[in-house]
Each structure stands twice: as structure tokens, then as C-alpha cells.
């Protein structure tokens, strides 16, 4: 059934009979981007009101694994002996995230080290610890991790590789809560007004110049208007749970995969932005993820499609890998290992099925129903390359090269419909480097800012993602929007 996307109608100020309240700045949503925006706007002298749908702050950020992608020589990187700088970080982002907004990427790269210091000054806890292996998540408080494609070719040639995943010192899968707690406490300590169980359901916008001047709020049992003298910052999270938007932009996923998010990731931010004439971009950007690691040794296996061909370097970020699997015929792919690297995937979310074990590659090829000779040839070429330490086809890092020649052999089915993929959407409202919402002509809509997962930031495709690129840029652009709306300079 065609489900219409329920885009709220903007309301004209003339149709607002009564403003229940008036402040300088309204921040819709109290995840990491909204919280940072509120803090900066407040500290720049603006009277701020946070309007949050849940019964408390935190949002999806608090339920995330708590990784901030940061670099440029942060205190943690320095402590771990990594020589990173703004130029290297920018070079990596420009090379790996193309297409992206270069202005936003350069601004983030230049300010990144200082932004880390700011986060730490708010009380966000980061240890001076480092994990050297390839991991998706760590069940301890270790901070610095390799979370992207820094060491994958060709990015390792574009920029000096450095680990840039900064995990807050919290435990478990929802370590993000340890990062949100001090930020929320700061808001309260500084007396920033917040109302909870309160949803922004429409923007109020002048007809003449398109200026956004307020919002309509729904609370259980009543609705009312709040006027914003300076502007509205939309920080409502992603559209991961918005079925019409997903069906429209990512129809392949609706049949095979599950969204990873919270119920309020229903696209309210994107929909509010669209209602005021902002433009949405990169809405087909997605991270479909079912990592083949840990354990890291599985990366020494190869991944083939139903033609028996490799199609990606196996050592790339798992989101990039998932994007490539998504593009294969039938979204079908197998992870092939020999007995020396065989192990069961440890990630409880991945659920890759062990198809079978075979004594020879020929038997495996037949068992998987691959074209005659295809897998034999792929493995012959790969093994020869691995033996001399150079993957000529995809340049997998020499660290992960080992001829797969010690039988028996095994295959895991990592196809979209056989494994268990989770997806996280990218894309959203088009914004500039200060978080201002842009229309189709790239003109800023007066009084409207969109930050965090409601906006299209860095990067715009899942092939380019690295863990931490939501909390990292989200917190940074939140801060910039907060200062800008309050009329304060940046930097």
C-alpha cells in the first residue's frame, strides 16, 4: 500500500492565536547534537528552550556505542603516540567521503582537536587507552580505536593512517550513555529550560521571507505554540524508522534488513525541514552492517559473490563491505576461509550462517552452486597474490594476506536475506558548515538550523562511513549551530 509521507504543514504566524511562551532559541531534540547546540546557544547569551519527545534527554546518542570520530592530534592520539593533524584528517575525509560537502569537512577537520578538548571539558570521559586490532565494538572502556577505512587502500595512500575512533569510557553496547550523562547534567546545572514528553509537530514560518519563527508543540492532551526570537534548531535524529522514507529511498532494505534505531527516529527532523522548504540530499545513503569480524582473523578470508568473484577488499570498514554486498547480484555473498583462519563470528548481531565444510575448493565451488571453475580461479589468483604479499586486485592490506590453501575449507553465507543485516540511514536535510538549513538553491532558510542525524553531514554514503561519524560531526555542527543562532562568532 502506498503510504503517504506525513509531512507537517508549516503554520503562518498570522494563524497563531496565542504564543504560550517565547524564547530566543528552540532546540528540538536532546541527543548529542541538540545538547551541544543548546549549551553553546545558552553560553552565548541566548534564552534557550529544549523540546524533547522522550521523558528525558539522551536520544539515540545515549543508546549508541559512544564512539566519536575525532582527530587532528587529539590528546588521546598524542598519548597513544599517533601523529595526526588537521591536514591528514582533511585529506582522509576528502578522499574517502567523496561526495561530501568539502566546506563542512574542512571546517570539522580544522577544529577537530579543539572540539575534543571541549567535549572533555564538559565532562565527557575519554581514557588515554588504545586498542590496536580491528574491532567493531569493545566490551570495556578502551578509548582509541581504528573504526574506519584509514588503513584500507587507497585511503592509506591519501592520508597517513591514524586511529580516530574515540570511545567514551562507558561499558557495553550502550556506552554512549556515559557520554550523554555529563552533557545533560551541564544543561541542567546551567539552568537551560527543557520540556519533556513534548514533540515539535510543526514549524511556524513567515510567508514573506521564509523565516522560521516558532514551533507547535504537542504534549499529552494538548498543543501549543512557542515563539523563537532568533531561530529553531532541529536535532531530532535520523529517519531510520520512517517507513515511507525508507521505502522510497532504500527499497531493497525493506525486505531483508532491520533498522537500527529508536522509535522516535521516525524522520521528524527531515520532515520538519522539508516542510519549511529545505532540501534533502543523500537520502539513499545507508550503512547496512553485519560485520565479518571479530575475530579479526576472519578478515584473512575472502568474500565472493554468486559468480565466484571477489568484489571488495575484505579489510575495509564493515559498513563499506555491507554496501558492496548490497550491490551484488541477488545481494548474495559468501565468506570463504580455510582451516587455518576458520573461526565462528563473535558478533552476536551478525548471525552469518555456516553453509558447510569441504575438503577441496572444487567441492566448495560445487556446494555453493558457483559457476564451474570460478571459485577455483579466484582462489588460485588470490593465493598467488597473498603468497607474495600483494593483493593486486583490491590491495587488501598485507597484514591480512594469507594463502587460503590448508583444507578443509568453509563458507559462511553473508547474503542480505540469509544473514542478519542492520541498517543505519545517512542523508537528510542539506545544511552549510554552520548548520543552517539550505533550500534547493542552496540558500539558507532564515531562522532554521538542522543538525545531527536529521542533516546530511559527513559522509553521505555507507561506503565512506567510519564508526563515530554520527557523534563526532553531530556534536560539532550542533555547537556551531548553537553559536550561530545566538549571534555569536565561531572560533
Amino acid at each position: 500500500m502506498t503510504q503517504k509521507l506525513d509531512i507537517p504543514q508549516v503554520i503562518r504566524p498570522a494563524d497563531v492565536a496565542d504564543w504560550e511562551r517565547e524564547v530566543d532559541v528552540i532546540v528540538a531534540g536532546q541527543g548529542v547534537a541538540g545538547t551541544c547546540a543548546a549549551l553553546e546557544a545558552h553560553r552565548a547569551g541566548a534564552e534557550v528552550l529544549i523540546v524533547e519527545r522522550a521523558s528525558g534527554g539522551g536520544g539515540a546518542s545515549a543508546l549508541s556505542s559512544g564512539i566519536f570520530y575525532l582527530g587532528g592530534g587529539t590528546a588521546v592520539q598524542q598519548a597513544a603516540g599517533y601523529d595526526d593533524d588537521a591536514e591528514q584528517l582533511a585529506a582522509f575525509l576528502l578522499a574517502s567521503c567523496d561526495p561530501l560537502d568539502p566546506n563542512a569537512a574542512l571546517a570539522f577537520a580544522n577544529d577537530c582537536k579543539d572540539h575534543f578538548d571541549w567535549l572533555e571539558a564538559q565532562g565527557v570521559p575519554f581514557e588515554r587507552t588504545y586498542y590496536g586490532g580491528k574491532a567493531v565494538w569493545l566490551d570495556d572502556t578502551t578509548c582509541l580505536m581504528w573504526t574506519g577505512n584509514e588503513k584500507a587502500w587507497p585511503y592509506r595512500e591519501a592520508a597517513r593512517p591514524a586511529p580516530r575512533g574515540h570511545k567514551v569510557a562507558g561499558m557495553g553496547e550502550n556506552a554512549g550513555a556515559a557520554g550523554m550523562k555529563p552533557l545533560l547534567e551541564r544543561c541542567e546545572a546551567e539552568g537551560i529550560a527543557a520540556i519533556y514528553d513534548s514533540a515539535v509537530i510543526a514549524l511556524v514560518q513567515e510567508e514573506a521571507d521564509g523565516r522560521v519563527v516558532g514551533v507547535k508543540v504537542r504534549q499529552p492532551g494538548r498543543e501549543f505554540f512557542v515563539r523563537a526570537r532568533r531561530g529553531v534548531i532541529v536535532a531530532c535524529g535520523s529517519h531510520n524508522m520512517c517507513e515511507p522514507l525508507i521505502k522510497e529511498h532504500l527499497p531493497l532494505l525493506t525486505e531483508t534488513s532491520e533498522p537500527l534505531g529508536i522509535p522516535s527516529n521516525d524522520g521528524a527532523g527531515v520532515r520538519l525541514g522539508l516542510s519549511a522548504g529545505a532540501h534533502a540530499v543523500a537520502m539513499d545513503g545507508v550503512i547496512p552492517t553485519a560485520s565479518i569480524y571479530p575475530p579479526g582473523q576472519l578478515i584473512k578470508g575472502i568474500i565472493v559473490n554468486r559468480n565466484g568473484e571477489r568484489f571488495v577488499a575484505e579489510d575495509v570498514y564493515h559498513g563499506r563491505l555491507g554496501n558492496f554486498v548490497m550491490e551484488q547480484p541477488g545481494q548474495t555473498a559468501y565468506l570463504i576461509v580455510d582451516s587455518e583462519v576458520f573461526a565462528y563470528p563473535e558478533n552476536p548481531l551478525a548471525k552469518h550462517t555456516l553453509v558447510d565444510g569441504w575438503e577441496t575448493v572444487e567441492e566448495m565451488e560445487a556446494g555453493l552452486g558457483l559457476p564451474a571453475g570460478s571459485l577455483v580461479e579466484t582462489m588460485r589468483t588470490y593465493n598467488a597474490d597473498a603468497a607474495r604479499g600483494h593483493d593486486a586486485r583490491f590491495r587488501k592490506h598485507p597484514d591480512w594476506l594469507k594463502p587460503l590453501d590448508v583444507g578443509p575449507f568453509a563458507a559462511f553465507d553473508i547474503s542480505f536475506d540469509k544473514s542478519h543485516y542492520l541498517f543505519i540511514t545517512l542523508g537528510g536535510i542539506k545544511t552549510d558548515a554552520t548548520g543552517r538549513a539550505l533550500d534547493l538553491h542552496s540558500n539558507a532558510i532564515p531562522g532554521l538550523y538542522v543538525v545531527g542525524a536529521s542533516a546530511a553531514h559527513i559522509p553521505r554514503t555507507g561506503k565512506a562511513y567510519a564508526s563515530g561519524l554520527s557523534l563526532g560531526p553531530g556534536s560539532y555542527f550542533g555547537r556551531r549551530a548553537g553559536r550561530h543562532v545566538a549571534g555569536a562568532n565561531w572560533g
Copy 2:
């Protein structure tokens, strides 16, 4: 079988025993981009040598339908009464082609009117005639056509719609030859040296600074080196026929669709660029095309996926439509019409199969195996929208809205595996607005230019394409590269 992409190795000058010939500028390929590059370099005072693989000039440009996407108020647009200008053209490109290189797009938009005059001054024939309908090709010499998404939502709101397809006054499917003929004659008349049946098989590149200083040429029975004092312009066409690149970047297409190109579109240009350290971008950009029109009345039908849902405005450019079909589950789609708009597709390349006719929508839904109630609901919603002249879901232009309510009903299968899709690749070597090849860091490689379909120009995805965006920007950036390599200013 994993087929390795045979990237030529660059050769070091020290390893060149003998330079058979030396000129200022070598142009590899004599399609529209190479021809325009050679003319400009020659006229700026450089000694030029064209090296062309075929036995004569023209390339895929001469076999194309001969449409140049041009605007900004060309003489033809003015004659037809269309008020276009550089600003409107830029606005359209920036809105519809995102992501793209904004510098290249703005340069093209600003110079576009003058570029038309230049083409005409070379003898490229353009009539002062205009076709008002929606067409893919015209079997006559009519010039001005609507070939893109100018009238489709939201682009019609981003820029004042204007027709910008400028078809050369040639007949038939290969009208492009009528445009290439005068350009080739100019080259000959002005004494620009050219060798045919001659392929550039490798670049000669200094190790120290990466400067490209010559090429290795293969002729039947022999190979030799040519030195370029100023630089090499690679204009070798697309990688449409390059199986390894297609399998790597567009695996879905290898099973269902056919490349549209000439045998020498084997990616030589991309491969030469890669060999010298240039970066390739947008390699998954593609136009999969099997237009549902002509006749235009078929656009009044709706297109649904196997969930019985619409997913795109049916009046968009057929390449955009094809891209959306490509993303549907199973690449499956049906064109649904009622008896008032029923017609057989006229495009002989499309080969959409008529599935059947049915008395009622319910029977059609069952006949197509769509989920119960899905098509009934989709058509109920669409028909209500069409009746009031507003397609709320996808904003199909009111011109094409008609309730589909006069049975019997019919469906054409326009799925990738049931219809006959042809594809044209986009993407290629990353370049700047003067055609200089860029590396991963966006630094120019000295002495190397890449233009035409060997480069990633405007646009980079098939969703953004308009007919004529190969010959239009290809000829323009060819000219700019020609002047730049010769040391001449632009404009």
C-alpha cells in the same frame, strides 16, 4: 572468473630508448572532446598530434544521437522564445546533479552560451527549430528539445524550466555524425597532425614530480614513443565496454543489461589515468535506459514495483526512471495504463513486454502477483490525486495527470530482466574545471588532462542525467583542456 583490470604500467623517461617523434601536445582520441581539445591547443600555438585508435575520427560521439546539452540563452533558445540565462542553468545543474563538482558546473553554466556560438562557428549545424513534446529521439533535424528533468519536480521549482537539448541537424539515430564531420574537417583544414589505427597504450611519466611527458603508441606490427613537451590530453571515451570495471562497480547490470557503446569504449582513458596516479570517482554512476515513451501518453500511466507501490514520478527523464527501477526489489517494475492511454511503446530499443489486459484493477493486481489490496490502494490514491490535479506523493506534472479509471487495464513489464535495458556509464577520472587530472588528494598531475567520457564531469549519477550532457560538457571541457595545456588563458 575474477578478471583483472589490465592497468597499463607507466614508463619512466629513462627507459625510453628512442623518441620517434616530439610535439607540444598529444591528444589521445578524436571524439568530440579530443577534437575540441586539439583545435583549441592548435589555435593557441601548440604543435598537436592526435592519436586515434580507429581508422578515422568521430568516436562514439559520431555514433550518438547528436544532442548537446547547452543553455544560458543560446541563439536557438532565443529563437524559440525561451528566456534562459547562466544563472538558471547553474541553478538547475546544482539542484539536479548533486553531487557534482560545483566549480565545473558553474564554469560550464557561465560559458555555455558562448560555447554554443563557438560550436556553430566551427560549422556544427543547429537549426532554429523546436519540439515541444516529451521525446527521447526525433527522426528529423529538429534542434531544441526537452531532454532532462527540467519540468520534473522539484527541479521545476529550483530553476525556470527551459529546453536545453540542442540536437545537431543530422538525421536518424546517429545524428552525431553531422556534428563531428565539420569538427573533423576543421582539424584537417588547419593542418593538425593525426595518426589513425594508433592506440595510446601507456603514459610516460617522470618519477620525481609525476609529470606526464609522453606516450607509447601501438600500431599494427609496431610500437613507438612520442614525447609531449607540454602535456597529454586523454580523451578516449567511456569504460562502458570494460567488463572488469563494470563487474566491479555495477555488478547488477552484468546479468540483465547491455552496454551501449563502441568496442573502443574499453576504459582505456580511465586506465591510463589510473596508471599515472589519477583518482577515479562516481564509477557506479550509470544510466540504465529503456524509456517508457514515446508515445508521450504512456507517461500518464503509473509505474509500480512488486509491492504494488509507486516509487518515482513517471514524467522524469528516462535515465532517472531507469535508475529508480534498478533500485527496486528484484529490479522489478510494471507500467500500468487504462484503455484511454493505452499504446504500444514506439521505441524499438525498449521492448517492454505487454503482460496482459484485465477488466478490473483487482484482476490486474492478482494477475501481476502483487500483494492483495496494494495496487487497488495505489490506484485509488493516485486517481483521487489525478482528479484534483495534484500528485501529492511524487508531484508528477499536472500535464500528465489523468485518473486511470477507464477499463480494461493493461500492464507492461519494464523489469530489468524482462525488458531490454541499455546502459551508459558515467564517472571516470576526477578532474578540475580545466580538465586537469587530479589525484586522491585533489592535486593536479602535471602534464595530464582527461576529458570527455574518460572523466567524471556533470553529472555523476544517472538519476541526474539529461540527454546531451556527454557532448555538451565533453566539448566544453575538451576546449578548456586544449587551451590550458597550450599555456593559453580561458575567456
